[in-house]
């Protein structure tokens, strides 16, 4: 951030109109003075830099060159105040395209249908198409 002695130029990196719009999405907000708008922009900038830095650290730990969602998630978890408000908002691991498949839902999804046990009292449709061999075909009484 520009912060030198000779020329004091402070310009937050985010468009103020957009910041204001986001703040005003909250119906409880009446008015926001220019100081507040400026500071929200500044602190958001700081937050972004912080989170980016921490995420990059995680990626480096894992010897990856690409910073991914999982790295971001770990970075969030490691900082308590951030985790408190943000962890629940992050997409679940199962929802990400990079899911390693550790969660329960992923496990279910990755199993082929044929492996899943059929509910009791039902027959699997593929039983109808089995060649006679191990199991006798199901007889259909037409007569």
């Amino acid at each position: 951030m520009a912060d030198d002695e000779a020329v004091n130029l402070i310009r937050p990196e985010f468009p103020t109109g957009r910041v204001k719009k986001i703040m005003k999405l909250d119906k409880d907000i009446n008015k926001v003075n220019s100081e507040a708008l400026f500071l929200v922009s500044c602190s958001t900038d700081l937050f972004l830099r912080f989170l980016a830095e921490r995420s990059a650290e995680v990626a480096t730990e894992k010897k990856k060159k690409t910073v991914k969602l999982d790295h971001l998630r770990t970075a969030v978890k490691r900082h308590r105040p951030t985790s408190d408000f943000l962890l629940d908002s992050l997409p679940m691991p199962a929802e990400s395209t990079q899911a390693v498949g550790r969660s329960v839902t992923d496990r279910d999804r990755s199993r082929p249908v044929a492996d899943k046990p059929a509910p009791t009292g039902t027959r699997r449709i593929d039983q109808f198409f089995c060649k006679p061999g191990n199991e006798s075909p199901i007889k259909i009484n037409d007569t």
Partner: protein, 144 residues
Amino acid sequence: MADEQYRLLPIANVVRIMKHILPPSAKISKEAKQTMQECVTEFISFVTSEASDKCHKENRKTLNGDDICWALTALGFDNYAEATVRYLHKYREAEREKASSQNKATSSQDKDDEESSEDNSRQPAHQQTDYEAPSPVLEFRVHI
């Protein structure tokens, strides 16, 4: 669908800042970029909401700079709170300077009129579609 994007900070701005921070060779997955965009937007809402609660409790209608500083500390972001308090003081100082220099209507005392190179280094590259150039809230020169 496009409407959704306007409830978030522009992804181009977010990515640009990330690239400042990350090592030059580092890459960011698309998902990480989008999630980061959501995270920082969430941060705005969170801090604003906290500051707003304080405002209400004190029967005030307008959110001010002190409310934001207070909210940051209350939420545990002490590291940003300190820097933000400094920004607040600088902002107020600049406002005072601006006000006093405007009052000196007839004064020809303004000696320094140096061009700053700061402006150039901050110029955003207009290459991406969803990029919004940051409109300066405050652009001023403090004469020391």
